[in-house]
Amino acid sequence: LGDEEEFSTFVRSSSGELQRMAVLLTGDWSAAQDLVQVALTKSWRRWASIRRQDAPEVYVRRVMMSTLLGWRKRRWVHEISAGDLPDEATGADPSSSVAQHEVVLGALRRLPERQRAVVVLRYFVDLSEQATAETLGCSVGTVKSHAFRALSALRSNPALRAAIIEESK
């Protein structure tokens, strides 16, 4: 079937990127894989109408966000936040990309979910404020205020600052 082939091609070309986005949103790879798997499963059932649009990844991202925000009550989403705090991460070699990844995930985890979503869509996916609002189903004003609060919190995180400055040198 043409649909199946087209969908498979889409999954193969985009699932790596979607999983990287998901790990930033959920904080670990197994949750990331679950999220992408569920979002793709939901999308596959609507594939016939999605494929008529220009960019299926726009739709899939939207499904991913609504799925994630619907999981808010799930225990694992909350479970993550308490654990590893930045002191350990700063102890590691901050120049290694693995350590930097850990610091970034740690900093994102401690943001409220919607702020984290805005940060990922704005700075990882590089969406405009308008496109971010459409993906999250909220207003541009809400995106702006989430982004402002999230950035204030991230700027005041010394471990993240250090990791980012290390990177840009």
């Binding site: 498979s8 999954v11 790596g16 894989q33 793709l40 499963t41 619907g70 940060v119 990177e167």
Partner: protein
């Protein structure tokens, strides 16, 4: 965009690739959508077979006296049964955990599977499937029953 935002963007984009790739075949086969009866030679025979199976299952479900709600198998498509040989087709159990019950039912119906529901108390929101058996990816005979644990929302 200031230096911090640019640095943040760079840091986010240096996220490593995922350890495990997603297999599209698992999604496509796991949630087979409605498709036309493949056996064009004997569509009438296929329809008759589906009707007979449906009646048999409805009777069985009524005489079973179970408290759990149970669906009747299959959609309007008889494609999961091979009319030519009469031997049942095998299907892959789709992943329905974390879907809402209504979505899970739809997915299972499309995969030609039956389901039973047990309500359980979990922190999950009401109506969300929290566990399934057999697990996703298992190969079972079409028309088999998948048991679902569904959150009460308390």
């Amino acid at each position: 965009m200031d230096d911090f935002e640019r640095g943040l963007s760079t840091a986010l984009k240096s996220t490593p690739p995922p350890p495990v790739e997603i297999d599209p075949a698992r999604i496509v086969r796991g949630t087979a959508r409605r498709h036309p009866v493949r056996n064009f030679v004997a569509p009438v025979l296929a329809a008759a077979l589906v009707a007979a199976v449906t009646v048999a299952v409805v009777l069985a479900a009524h005489s079973g006296g179970s408290n759990s709600p149970t669906n009747v198998p299959g959609g309007p498509s008889g494609a999961s049964h091979s009319a030519a040989t009469g031997s049942p087709a095998r299907v892959v159990v789709p992943l329905v955990v974390r879907l809402h019950l209504a979505e899970a039912r739809h997915v299972l119906d499309q995969s030609h599977l039956r389901w039973t529901v047990t309500r359980v108390s979990t922190p999950e929101s009401k109506g969300v499937v929290v566990a399934q058996g057999p697990r996703a990816g298992a190969h079972v005979v079409a028309g088999s029953t998948v048991s679902l644990r569904v959150s009460r929302g308390t």
